[in-house]
């Protein structure tokens, strides 16, 4: 076979281009030498500049969406870039929730300079403890007792006055004023003894009438005096209340004076302390209640009332700290916005301002909040709440049920807190583009897109920088150091990961995985340095863990369950190459493509598309075939061909146009009757002009065919034909390179369909001469002749049909 391909003057890809080897790199930084600050983010200048811009832009909406693949170290970069601006910004203000004395259901927000929040909270707690002692003590003092006694005595004197004067008046008229448990009885007396009915009957009529008149009159007087008693009581209570206020005010003002001194300059705090003072004075009585409950569980702790003077510190910052950089890994509604907790008491759920809890938005207020976009969008109500917070520039802590108007019970409505922070949303690219299209407000809320690159140019400088990056990651993760050859091997693997020998993948998670796994294998063999074989072992072991399906496919081909010929020739049949992507792992394998042709209307049928197994790009590739055929072979006659192409034994979806050059060659073989060599496989897309174009997964495809040929036995005849534009992407496994070096396997690069067809058939494709004809004994000539035959046949069929019609 080698001779055949060589006869066609198509040269194999040089071994040196099959895998761009990296020379050993000795990067031995001084132990004390620090790596450049952004060395970990090689090739991410665009993203870095965007993030810096977004962080520093003060205007509304300049939040940042960091888009890039998972594992590209976006979180680390964002945090690192935010650190310096956060340091310059300094700590933002503290925030507390305090009782709203006029409307306890609407707790008030109190803003304090950084660090003052915790001091104020502690001072208020201390004040409460002092009040807890000072107020009862004031009411238990002799002074208070004496003053109260005086008030009681004064009121009693007034009452006594009412009573004694009436009693004296009654006595003077021979009437006794008796007291029952609920009232009074007026009864006639004689010799200090109440007289009974018998004695009363003995009295003269006139005396009896006089007594009854006296009693009637005294009764009226008694009633009149009884009516004045409530007023006396009221006056007494007012005087006692005034006394209590004075006592409380004296006790509290002394305590509060110190605190007011400490809070000089904090106007809002001083205003609040005034309110506290007024409230304590108004309710001083409550703090000394000692009533015994009717039931033990109803016990009343009067000092619990003092809790309304506590301070709920919801955002606390150290005065000398930097602005916060918060990453919320679980941005549920409560974790992001905050929540109002409840406590169960006697079967009821109760809450107050002390149970308001802040979320990540408030914790990051004045700084930077980092969120994962897919988590924000995946949790109920969170995206809407986040948008609302950004748009209104404030946070209202309320339950989602409250927000949606579903809450049926009374709850708190804390005062909204102004928001001033930068949100850094991290997500994958597709999410960003979807949000741009479907979320109208998205672009005005996240005006900065920081797009992480997947790879970086494999220049000399970048290779050295990459080596330093490897060394830095090893140092950070406390892994065994890498030898020069091992570093070079890692660099090569990063090129392979980028699918490009001229670029290096900057996907950090996969790099870290490789380094960690190589470290494991190095330690397993007791080494103190990671060698090249440890890198190779890590790669090999990772492949071994994931290649179950690949092995099954190869085995099925070996056992001829999947029909792939690797020897001989066949008309209308070619070995295409496809790639199966399993997410973290992908592999290539050959797939048989067959084509059939007959006279027709000039269409090529894609069976995959007909049965809806073909994707749009695949169908597009097949449609191009019709155009390419017509343009190349039947410029002057109607293309009178009906061709079908199919991926044999393919039972899943087929996508991509990387088989189109193979499909075209199968069609040409079918049309011309020239067989295709089965020891070759081909990949590449083709345009209408017959130009072969680059495809993806080139390394996996070559390795896939190599694996099949290897199990059947390499003899030097096997080869893969690839687009020339793909040569720069080659980073083949060493086993393949070695086989090529030993002339047991080959890779050919082609630029046109003619080159591909020539290589596959061994027959020169041929070019049109000055008369526009293909030379005799060339593939193209055979194809064109056949198509002209098809056209003639079709014309004769058409004329026959017309004659039949006319005859009829």
């Amino acid at each position: 076979m080698t001779g055949v391909v060589e006869q066609t003057r198509i040269q194999p890809v040089p071994v040196s281009e099959l895998r761009k080897v990296c020379p050993p790199l000795s990067i031995e930084p001084d132990p004390g030498e620090m790596a450049p600050p952004m060395s970990t983010y090689l090739g991410q200048e665009r993203a870095i500049n965007a993030i810096r811009f977004g962080i520093q832009m003060e205007h509304d909406g300049y939040n940042v969406f960091v888009l890039g693949p998972l594992g590209s170290a976006r979180h680390g970069l964002v945090e690192k870039l935010a650190k310096e601006p956060a340091r310059i910004k300094g700590a933002p203000d503290d925030w507390c929730y305090i009782n709203n004395f006029s409307d306890p259901e609407r707790p008030r927000a109190l803003r304090l300079p950084a660090g003052e929040g915790s001091r104020f909270r502690d001072n208020m707690q201390a004040l409460i403890e002092e009040i807890r002692i000072a107020i009862p003590a004031a009411f238990e003092s002799d002074d208070y007792g004496n003053q109260l006694k005086t008030l009681v005595a004064e009121t009693q004197k007034e009452l006594d006055g009412l009573w004694s004067s009436l009693q004296e008046q009654a006595a003077s008229e021979g009437i006794a004023l008796l007291q029952t448990p609920t009232g009074y009885v007026l009864a006639p007396v004689r010799d200090d003894e109440v007289i009974d009915d018998k004695e009363f009957e003995k009295l003269p009529e006139e005396k009896r009438k006089e007594i009854q008149d006296s009693i009637r009159r005294l009764s009226e007087e008694l009633k009149a005096r009884i009516e004045t008693i409530p007023k006396l009581h009221k006056n007494h209570h007012e005087r006692v209340r005034t006394l209590d206020r004075e006592v409380t005010a004296h006790a509290v003002s002394v305590l509060l004076e110190d605190l007011k001194q400490k809070c000089q300059g904090l106007t809002a705090v001083l205003d609040y302390l005034e309110e506290v003072e007024r409230d304590i004075i108004e309710n001083g009585q409550e703090f000394r209640r000692t009533e015994q409950p009717s039931l033990p569980f109803l016990s009343f702790d009067s000092t619990a009332l003092l809790t309304k003077y506590e301070v709920n510190l919801i955002v606390s910052n150290e005065s000398d700290a930097a602005a916060p950089i918060i990453y919320e890994p679980n941005p549920s509604y409560p974790n992001l916005i905050g929540k109002i907790e409840h406590r169960a008491e006697m079967g009821a759920l109760l809450t107050d301002f002390r149970m308001v809890r802040s979320g990540a938005l408030l914790q990051a207020n004045g700084g930077y909040l980092i969120l994962d976009a897919h988590r924000v969008l995946g949790r109920p109500f969170v995206w809407e709440a986040l948008k609302q917070a950004i748009l209104t520039k404030q946070v209202c802590i309320e339950s989602p049920a409250e927000t949606l108007g579903f809450a049926s019970t009374t709850t708190l409505k804390p005062e909204p807190i102004p928001l001033d922070l930068k949100i850094l949303l991290i997500g994958e690219r597709w999410l960003y583009y979807l949000l741009c299209v479907y979320e109208k407000e998205f672009n005005s809320l996240f005006k900065v897109a920081a797009d992480f690159d997947d790879d970086v140019e494999r220049s000399t400088d970048n290779v050295e920088a990459y080596a330093r990056l490897i060394a830095e990651r090893v140092r950070e993760s406390k892994l065994l150091p890498l030898g020069a050859a091992a570093i070079a091997r890692v660099i090569e693997q990063r090129a392979r990961h980028a699918d490009d020998s001229e670029r290096l993948s900057v996907h950090m998670r996969s790099l870290d995985d490789l380094l960690e796994q190589a470290d494991y294998w190095a330690r397993s063999r007791g080494a103190d340095q990671v060698a090249i074989e440890d890198i190779t072992e890590a790669i090999q072991q990772r492949d071994n863990r994931q290649d179950r399906i690949q092995k099954k496919v190869v085995d099925a081909i070996k056992r001829e369950t999947l029909l792939i010929d690797t020897t001989g020739e066949c008309v209308g049949q070619v070995n295409g190459l496809s790639v199966t992507d399993l997410g973290e792992y992908r592999f290539g394998h050959p797939v048989r493509i067959t084509a059939t042709t007959r006279v027709g209307k000039g269409d090529v049928v894609d069976i995959e598309r007909e049965v809806k197994l073909g994707g749009a790009i695949h169908s597009k590739g097949v449609m191009i075939l019709s155009a390419a055929l017509a343009a190349r072979y039947a410029p002057d006659v109607p293309l009178s061909l009906h061709g079908t192409v199919v991926f044999e034994q393919s039972y899943g979806g087929v996508e991509g146009d990387s088989a189109s050059v193979g499909e075209l060659c199968a069609l040409l073989s079918s049309i011309s009757g020239v067989p295709i060599r089965q020891n070759l496989a081909i990949t590449g897309s083709v345009n209408q002009l017959g130009r072969v174009q680059a495809v993806g997964g080139i390394n996996e495809k070559i390795e896939g065919f190599f694996a099949v040929c290897k199990v059947r036995g390499l003899d030097g005849s096997h080869a893969v034909i690839i687009p020339r534009d793909n040569v720069k992407h080659l980073m083949l496994k060493e086993a393949v390179v070695e086989a090529v070096q030993n002339k047991m396997f080959n890779v050919y690069a082609v630029q046109t369909v003619d080159e591909a067809a020539t290589a596959l058939t061994g027959m020169t494709a041929g070019e049109r001469d000055k008369d526009g004809d293909f030379p005799a004994d060339t593939l193209n000539r055979l194809v064109e002749d056949k198509l002209i035959q098809f056209a003639c046949k079709r014309q004769s069929f058409s004329e026959g049909a017309s004659d039949d019609k006319g005859h009829k």
């Binding site: 109260l148 006794a176 008796l178």
Partner: protein
């Protein structure tokens, strides 16, 4: 303390519903300095309510509302029962607070002289509210062979302090 023998000094505490028990009790406790002391509380029923109720025109005027209703014999008995229960309850509380036991006797006013039966010796003591002096039965009491201590335990108006003003 009340488990007395014949040699034990007896303190008799004459009370009515209209007397300030606190004051009387305090004096009684001061008098019972000896471990051998024995306390007998004697409730003297107020006969005035029954007498007043026998009169057809007697009305009870409510302290709370000033309204009046006829003061019947049934109501007088009810008041008497309440007064007894109330006084006994208060005495029991005072005794519990003082950790002391006492005997409780009930006498009608016209039986006041039966207090003689409780006196054993001249060292015994009768403590009574001072307003007893104005009551007809006091003449009988004055002939007791024991000492009598009258305490200014004001009656109606003093008691009214608790009832009218809740402080």
């Amino acid at each position: 303390m009340t488990k007395g023998t014949n040699n034990t000094r007896r303190v008799m505490l004459a009370v009515t519903d209209a007397s300030s028990l606190q004051a009387l009790w305090r004096v009684a406790m001061e008098s019972l300095t000896s471990d051998r002391g024995e306390l007998i509380a004697v409730f003297v029923r107020d006969d005035r309510w029954r007498r007043a109720a026998s009169l057809s025109f007697t009305q009870e005027i409510s302290r709370a509302s000033g309204g009046s209703m006829k003061f019947t014999l049934r109501r007088a008995e009810e008041v008497d029962r309440d007064a007894l229960a109330h006084t006994q309850g208060r005495l029991q509380k005072l005794a519990a607070d003082s950790q002391i036991e006492f005997a409780f006797e009930i006498l009608a006013e016209n039986e006041a002289m039966r207090i003689h039966e409780f006196v054993r010796s001249e060292s015994d003591l009768l403590i009574a509210p001072s307003f007893f002096k104005r009551r007809p039965f006091y003449g009988e009491l004055a002939r007791l062979k024991c000492r009598i201590l009258l305490v200014d335990a004001s009656n109606v108006t003093t008691e009214s302090e608790d009832l009218w003003i809740k402080g």
